[in-house]
Symmetry: C2
């Protein structure tokens, strides 16, 4: 295995020796003053690694460039909004055409009907669809629809799962009061006993079970759902009339052009999608079946920008591209190549990687690394060689990641493993 530090001469400086974040650090100092405490939320680079830049100036396909001109092959993919690559020609062209007509006006564009019909056609459980802006808007509407339909209050959710940054669900408790979490009970993902216990505790007040397509919590191994677990949920909801709500915000369109649990033949009643549904244009979607049509119709779902036609045009083009370009198989192929290559690299340097979850949304952890020190160091070193990885949040493959990009990324990461071996001994 070659251990040369990768040195690209044809684009930006990419060697460890000359890598600098000078401009980025100067901007961070301004951000500390101008924003409450620097960049906030999941975009705060401090949560990734000390070496990752904070600001991104340019994006193309599956690559991004920071303000110092460093290029990265990007396996965060905008935390999931980048599905087809930045500046996908057909998506951007559809958006431009619609922008020339109208975006936000005093009424929705006819595209709202076309897009809802498209979701109803593609998503197996969908009899109706509606559109919002944040993933959290969509999950909130699902919960409200379930409560309106059933006249009950209690919602079950997996302990530790992320369902958005609203007071009801945010993982950080600053500003949250206990009433924001009233009528919530938790179960453990893939644990049918814990699910049954929560159902028993809810008694006759069970409004909904909220679940992610797979366990994609930060900091712990990802877990695919067992068939029994998913089917148990479906059976409980069928029996009680509660809504099975799939929080597909992060996953939708990376596994299927419908809801992600169509891949295991378990259909939810309500589904929240966002992130990749318009390839980076801001949009979220609620799809539902006729059992919950009355309920959702009672919910006042609206927002100033929820009817923005450009995002609808982008979503229609994204859905078309998924099939025309065989996107899901491409994601699988590239994800598999990356996973196998990273395993080979790690092994060659005497490390073992634990790569969990589906290859389209991999989580990378170095074995024997309880405090993530090796993982953070590895990702820092990868960043300095132009590969953007994350040490404890799931990553994303986009369909602009071609075989040659994955191979180039592995070439670049080779030096990061070399540095890891130097820093942490023989693994």
């Amino acid at each position: 295995m070659a251990v040369e530090v990768h040195n690209r001469t044809e684009t930006q400086i990419m060697t460890y020796d000359t890598y600098t974040l000078e401009k980025d650090l100067a901007l961070r100092a301004r951000a500390e003053a101008a924003l409450p405490a620097g960049v906030y939320g999941h975009m705060n680079s401090r949560i990734v690694s000390p070496a990752h830049p904070q600001f991104i100036s340019r994006a193309e396909g599956g690559r991004i460039w920071d303000t110092d001109g460093n290029e990265y092959i990007d396996f965060i993919c905008s935390y999931g909004t980048n599905l087809l690559g930045h500046h996908h020609p057909k998506v951007d062209e559809a958006a431009r055409k619609q922008q020339a007509l109208a975006d936000c006006t005093s009424g929705p564009s006819p595209l709202i009907v076309e897009l809802a019909e498209k979701f109803n056609e593609k998503v197996a459980h969908a009899d109706w669809s509606l559109f919002a802006k944040n993933g959290g808007d969509a999950t909130t509407i699902c919960v409200s629809a379930a409560r309106a339909q059933t006249g009950r209050k209690t919602v079950l959710l997996a302990a530790g799962a992320y369902h958005g940054a609203t007071p009801a669900f945010t993982p950080m408790m600053g500003g949250v009061i206990e009433s924001d979490r009233a009528y919530q009970l938790t179960y453990d993902y893939n644990d049918i006993d814990s699910l049954n216990n929560a159902v028993a505790e809810a008694g006759d007040d069970l409004a909904a079970i909220l679940v992610s397509p797979f366990k994609h919590d930060s900091l712990v191994e990802q877990e695919l759902p067992t068939q029994e677990f998913a089917e148990a949920m479906r059976a409980i909801c069928d029996k009680t009339g509660a809504a099975l709500i799939l929080d597909d915000v992060r996953c939708a369109f990376r596994f299927s052009s419908g809801s992600t649990w169509e891949t295991i033949n378990v259909l939810p009643d309500l589904c929240a999608m966002s992130k990749s549904v318009a390839n980076g244009y801001a949009l979220s979607v609620v799809t539902g079946n006729n059992k919950f049509r009355d309920g959702v119709s009672q919910v006042y779902a609206t927002g100033s920008f929820w009817f923005a036609a450009v995002s609808y045009a982008a979503s229609l083009a994204t859905i078309a591209a998924i099939e025309e370009e065989d996107v899901i198989n491409k994601l699988k192929a590239s994800g598999t190549l990356l996973r196998d290559g990273l395993n080979d690299l790690a092994n060659s340097y005497g490390f073992k990687l634990n790569q969990s979850g589906p290859v389209q949304m991999p989580l990378l952890m170095v074995e024997d690394d309880p405090k993530f020190e090796k993982g953070i160091y590895l990702c820092s070193q990868a960043a300095q060689r132009g590969v953007w990885l994350h040490p404890w949040h799931n990553m994303f493959i986009c369909s602009a990641h071609e075989e040659k990009d994955i191979k180039e990324a592995l070439d670049r990461v080779d030096g990061a493993f070399q540095a890891l071996r130097k820093e942490f001994g023989e693994g």
Copy 2:
């Protein structure tokens, strides 16, 4: 007063006789099936009038076109997101340039710093700013920041005020449970006694007072705040350490390039803005002072599209245009011309109009019309003549409404008053 039905030959068909919504009605039937119950939220045209079209295909400046090709001079202005006119050249050019670089990536653009610095410079109370997507995101963050900072829970808000479609604030109760409204007390707008009573009831648990720049509830007369009322709020918050939160989502940038209460010299601690801040590109803003910097830093504020750089570029261009083009004075001049012209028209047909609120955001009510029958009829007739008015929600002027547009609108509305007189007698 001329009573000819206005007939524009140079653009679309605009005569009462040939006005049709045939395509619109066909689309509405499809929308009933594809969406939960037709178009939802504030964009549901059924809430405006039976004659208003549901769908809008094209927009330019201060005009919109429906799917049947009918043109409207638009005084709803996308419920406030249209401030400078659709397709403002400098705003759209800034957005296009940024789109060519990057929109949503794995980190924010440097523009987030530039835009925060711009808000901090323009908004008198702002020591820091942060950006989100919905107006409701911004008001929610303000409340969470106040609770985090003070360690208290109770929030005061005006009875009947609209603060977004979240479970905590939505005016429709479908899917809302009582815990969503825990720790809320109400006062009556402009009623200092009711405010003092609510403060007394909150006791030592007062976290925040939430208030709109003026009373702009639907279905009732708008009211400007009295100086005493606004100052009483400021004094209570100064005394108790509670946050004065201005919900400037609907009003921001139509009265000042800072927060709207700068016009009466009362500064909030926290302010939520949205709607017009990027001239139709999806963006909301929280601005705050240093007293609440720690509090807001504890709130996990984030969303998949909150760091979209195109909206930041659009907002920077919007802020520049407001000053370069003397937008606020233009809105006042056009709004005054419209108000005076509508009054004259109404009087000439034996009606009286009650036009409340500031001229930039007028609310139009026909006197002696408790069930809004005359207002709805008038707005229906105006729609059929190519003027988009609202019978019970505040309207909006945009700076693309030039004097000639207002005069043309009044010409068109003349026929609507003629029809109103025919339908409802001599007024």
